[in-house]
Subunit: 336 residues, 2 copies
DNA sequence: TTGTACGCGTTATCAT
DNA sequence: ATGATAACGCGTACAA
């Protein structure tokens, strides 16, 4: 608990027998410094254990070299067995680390947390804010952007003013490929377990399903879940209840698809003989489900890395496109 | 992307027709300000959307009002289905939020990440650092403490200089109660699946097992896991291999205990008829396992809250005890 | 009760 | 190549 004095630039300068300016140059890697002096300064830095004061530095540079990643969820949900957030975090973290930026993780399930995040960012604690997912018409991204803070979202925001740049995957394309695969393989009563309709991912995947079925002139059957395994179980039961003869189901997330698999087994249905199942995500575990899950792969890690890269560009003052859409891909295994 | 000028104290002062000092007083809630002036200032603050610059403020106050929570793990592990970290994070987060401090989450699985954390903290980005778990003789807590940065650990650190205050649970007591329960109910060949031996939690739980069995003059049988479900499965298989006649097993974590349950079923053993199983943690899911798990409850959420409270005291300059040890409790259900 | 003036530790501009 | 010196935006003695 020795609240020992932290050495300042001044102290290092005295010890090395130079001016503050020179020490600053050395610390920041300027090339216009004589080798001998540089060495003396570095020695003094080491001996004193000098580390630049971030507040003082930020005050003049207007930068903090750290980026906030906002998870608009409670810790409960972030740390559930859903692997979406971990993958995003890992992707963002890797790219940021490579750029020598610090990642500041913030969870804001509550309204109050929301406000805290806004103040935190506006106060200049971070150089930019990455949103890992958006619920409904969350005003926060727009509010921050309006303040001149670099913002980027994962998934197209539902609000539009000001437009906030985003990175997303081709939900509709992936779903269309999945549903077409079902149709091509002879399925005719194709239901869906949709995701939450307050999130763009949920909405667009449902739209992909609806659009493709309509184009094929086939009937629609929709039940909504919330991306969790439990909701998948409940939704599958509801579907079987409403149409015992359905022969396929497109499920908007792998986790829900696993739930659906469980419910189908419980109901005595064979997969894929009786009912074909296709998920969305392509989590690692989906390769080992029983049967292995046919699913639409979305590149979540790549999405995280892209988010970070776009953020770094923004911070750097570069122009970036309003959206980057990553491709999805149908992975055919045994369930459909 | 409008990098609009952020209003400063000066701007607010001009608008409100007062001095900077007065605005500062209002913003920081000083009582020695006339009501009418306070109102005028607040109006100016709102109109301009003024938010104090954190860097400038920190520079003079030497505080940032944020606390780092270090998870010395990779994102993989933090976001696995182990519910230890989520519970800690929630506990720390709640208490910090109540104190109006911001939680900064940092994962440092790698060596480089370790170094980044040190610089981050020493640079004064946060007022204090909470460690959510410690591996081996991690020098980081000590290094930070030596720098005069408030530090507190979850679990007794294995290094001792300088001593870093910690919050822990009574591992040995809980384990002893569990093992005695097994002995009392007639078990004689009591094995254990221990936790990783580079962590105090793993070491002390094993010590509790060993000590109790020795005192009772019973044989020991130890296999080590890493707290994951998979390692529990493997360890249980190994135990059955080494002693097919064992009649009880104390498992150092609930997750591993669930793995053990699976392996026992796979081997055709009845629980608890053939083999009694006791876990450690008392996660919610353990109430619903088959059979419901007898386990040692450790108050993880309370641990998180205590960590935060102690940290707040440290930041406040108060003295705190070198350790706080929370009680554990044997929860008897059906598996033993 | 309000204002003046100084200092927090850096970086950056300008001389030298 | 190096050294004064002026910001950066704020809190707070101290003075009024």
């Amino acid at each position: 608990m020795t609240t020992r004095e932290r050495p300042t630039l001044e102290a290092v300068a005295r010890r090395a027998g130079v001016s503050r300016a020179t020490v600053s140059r050395v610390v920041n890697g300027s090339t216009t410094v004589a080798a001998t002096i540089r060495e003396a300064v570095n020695r003094a830095v080491d001996e004193l254990g000098y580390v630049p004061n971030q507040a003082a530095r930020s005050l003049v540079t207007q930068r903090t070299d750290s980026v906030a990643l906002i998870l608009p969820e409670t810790a409960n949900r972030v740390f559930s067995d859903d692997l979406f957030f971990p993958a995003i975090i890992r992707g963002v973290g890797m790219e940021l680390e490579a750029a020598d930026k610090q990642l500041v993780l913030m969870m804001t399930g509550s309204e109050a947390g929301h406000h805290r995040v806004e103040r935190y960012a506006v106060a200049g604690h971070v150089d930019g804010v990455v949103f890992a997912s958006i619920h409904g018409a969350d005003p926060l991204p727009g509010a921050l952007a309006r303040r001149g803070i670099p913002v980027i979202c994962s998934g197209r925001p539902m609000t539009a003013e000001p437009p906030v740049p985003y990175v997303d995957v081709d939900h509709a394309g992936g779903v269309a490929a999945a549903v077409r695969h079902l149709i091509t393989t002879g399925r005719r009563r194709i239901a869906t377990i949709a995701g939450p309709q307050d999130m763009v991912a949920g909405i667009e995947r449902l739209a992909g399903y609806t659009g493709t079925l309509r184009a094929a002139g086939l009937p629609e059957l929709v039940v909504t879940g919330d991306f969790t395994r439990e909701s998948g179980i409940a939704a599958m039961r509801a579907l079987l209840d409403r149409d015992p003869d359905l022969d396929a189901v497109f499920v908007a997330s792998d986790l829900m698809a696993h739930g659906a698999l469980m419910a189908l087994r419980e109901a005595g249905r064979q997969v894929p003989a009786d009912v074909a199942v296709i998920g969305f995500d392509d989590f690692e575990i989906s390769r080992y489900s029983d049967p292995p899950l046919t699913t639409v792969r979305q590149p979540i890690g790549e999405m995280g890395r892209t988010l970070a890269r776009q953020m770094l560009l923004l911070i750097n003052g570069d122009e970036i496109p309003e959206s980057v859409v990553l491709p999805t891909e149908l992975i055919v295994r045994d369930s459909a």
